[in-house]
């Protein structure tokens, strides 16, 4: 299945990638997306996850066509 992956801010710098397109069959959860897109980088402690722009957790299921984003705590406003 096809997943669009995005990294933002300090997490983008830590991972060294901003956008990754995954096309793999061994993906069930956001944790799988993280593992494959980061080449097994350890999850970052306080990172946030969004699936299709809604906040999610690492164990949440993903499906074909989803956009999965990883980023640090937000600091807007």
């Amino acid at each position: 299945m096809s997943i669009t992956v995005k990294f933002f801010a300090s997490l983008r710098e830590t991972i060294g990638k901003s956008d990754v397109s995954l096309d793999a069959d061994n993906i069930t959860t956001a944790a799988d997306v993280w593992r494959i897109a980061t080449d097994n980088h350890d999850p970052v402690g306080n990172m946030l996850i969004a699936i299709n722009m809604e906040y999610a957790s690492l164990d949440e299921m993903v499906k074909d066509g989803d956009e999965v984003a990883f980023f640090p705590p937000v600091t807007g406003g």
Binding site: F8, S10, A50, M53, Y55, P73, T75, G76
Partner: protein, 145 residues
């Protein structure tokens, strides 16, 4: 209800005037307008800050700011809301965010305005990178409300 993301500096007072002029149907209906403007300071956590870059996740930002506005309208009896948020390169004294709430009574506008900023600070995917001296660093947390 309007949510606007701006890549360039904006004047909050001009934006408020323009927004109200564009809503003649509100004239005479609102008795209360509560506004918050967040502005870039030239110091933070004891350091001088020369400049800031504000990264965001554009479609998610828009979506969540609209959701926050909608939620405020469900919790309080509001006539209109306006959110303007900057992204990109920001200079000290530049407005970062403008929140405005129009209602019949202040008992609605005050908590709604507070709700907008607290939810925005928690949920809207923006990230500040400050330049202090020769170095840039990511801001790790917001000041608590």
């Amino acid at each position: 209800m309007a949510v606007k993301l701006r890549g360039e500096s904006f004047d909050p007072w001009q934006a408020l005037q323009t927004h109200q002029n564009e809503k003649p149907e509100l004239a005479g209906k609102f008795g209360a307008t509560s506004i918050f403007v967040g502005t870039m300071r030239d110091f933070n956590d004891g350091n001088d800050v020369q400049a800031m870059a504000l990264e965001h996740y554009p479609a998610m930002t828009q979506k969540h700011l609209e959701a926050i506005s909608t939620e405020a309208g469900q919790r309080w009896d509001l006539l209109d809301t306006l959110i303007i948020h900057r992204y990109g390169d920001i200079q000290p004294n530049d407005p970062i965010v403008l929140l405005a709430v129009w209602s019949a009574h202040r008992s609605e506008s005050f908590p709604a305005c507070r709700y907008l900023i607290e939810e925005l600070k928690t949920r809207a995917p923006f990230w500040k990178q400050e330049t202090t001296g020769a170095n840039s660093h990511w801001v790790e947390h917001n000041t608590p409300g």
